[in-house]
Structures are given as C-alpha cells and as structure tokens.
Symmetry: C2
C-alpha cells in the first residue's frame, strides 16, 4: 500500500481500500466531511490543523477521482467550492468504523504502557 495514485491491479480488497485511504490526511478529510456533511475548502483547512493547501487540494482531487467526494464550484466572487461525500464515500466511512474502534483500543493499550518500544530491553529471545 502507500501508493495513492496506484490504480494498479489489486491483490485483494484490503489492498484496494488502503490504496484509497492512504495519504496523510485522507482519513481526517473523510471524518470531517462525514461529521459536517458539506464543507468549503477553507473550512476543511481549518479543520485539519497542519495540512498544507497543496496537499489538501491534491487529496481532494484524488478522492474526487476515486469517487469518494463531490466537488461543487459556485461561479461567484469570491470563489466558493463545496465538498460532500458521495454514497461510496459514506460507505467507506462505515467500513472504517471497526478499524477506528480497533485504533481507539490500541491507543488505550498504548497509554497503559502495554505496547512498548522494543529499543528498551524487552525479553531474552527464546
């Protein structure tokens, strides 16, 4: 995975799905759009602290190409562009829910120190 414009022949479903969500901000964009329904470019930018404008447009374009979001341009001045999830985008978010739950569980475990960095001496190899 880790190859956003992959488009290559996929080995399995996981492969195809991860291809679409891998990208530093895609998960967050998905989440933001699911939360608010419709968001303008600048709203998204403010919602994802630290994102660069370049990456935001790039990710949004890829997600539009992948059929996850719809981009609506209003011929106004100043320009207004709105982004919404498509049905498939919403289904992707649903499919990501158990993964999110697993992740939250992992954060909890990590906070308890049950997952630790192995640079520390861990255990004599059997």
């Amino acid at each position: 995975m880790v190859k956003s414009p992959g488009q290559g022949p996929y080995i399995c479903g996981i492969d195809a799905a991860l291809d679409v969500v891998s990208g530093k901000w895609k998960g967050l964009i998905l989440w933001e759009l699911d939360e608010h329904g419709t968001r303008r470019f600048a709203e998204l930018r403010r919602g994802l602290p630290g994102v660069s404008e370049k990456m935001l447009t790039q990710h949004l374009r890829e997600m539009e190409r992948d059929g996850l979001v719809i981009r609506t341009v209003y011929a106004e001045v100043p320009p207004r562009v709105e982004y919404t999830l498509t049905e498939h985008g919403r289904m992707l978010n649903k499919a990501l829910e158990p993964l999110g739950e697993w992740g939250r569980e992992r954060i909890r475990r990590e906070a308890l120190g049950m997952v630790d960095h192995p640079d520390a001496p861990v255990m004599p190899r059997p």
Copy 2:
C-alpha cells in the same frame, strides 16, 4: 497516515489503525498469517510475490513491536523462525474485514468502468 514508525500522538482511532497497517506489504502479511495460522519467513516470502527480504523483515519487526505478531525462534540448524498473529492482530484482521469488502466492491465497480481516471483516454464507448 503513511508513517509506519509514527508512534506519535494520534488524532483519532483511524489514525492509529492506519499507522499500523500502512506499509506496502502489511495488509498482505496480516492476511497470509490469518489464512495459514503460522508461517515461516520463507513461506511468507513465497506468499507475497515481489516482496524484498529487507522489507519483509522490517515489516515483521514493526508488527512485532506493535504487538500484532509473535516471532518464535527455534535454536536449530538450519534456522527456523515462525510468525503467528497475536490476539490483537487477529482482532485487527476482523476490523479490516468490512474495509476489504468495500475494496472488493470498488474493484468490481472499477472493472465495470464506473470509476475511471478522467485524465487518461479510457475506453471508446462501445
């Protein structure tokens, strides 16, 4: 996402989970181990056509550090090392199932030409 040794503070569960599965072969490794239960290094290598030995060891080490797999070394000659999923690894796989289903659906749609790259000349409409 796309930062395997991230370990950083996560924004949400999706973030934490994607951190763990992003890596070119991790999804496939997870799948392979889930399918077969226990696999040796060379078996995994043969199961993932195209993987380099370096990446395979690297990914397996990261997954061990993340508490997804258990690495068992037998003090034999020739050396024998076996990899198995931990309980958390198996739960991760369960959590990935709906995502895999979504991905398979996407592959199906893509095959039908319903998702296509708009930049490239795609197909002469029959």
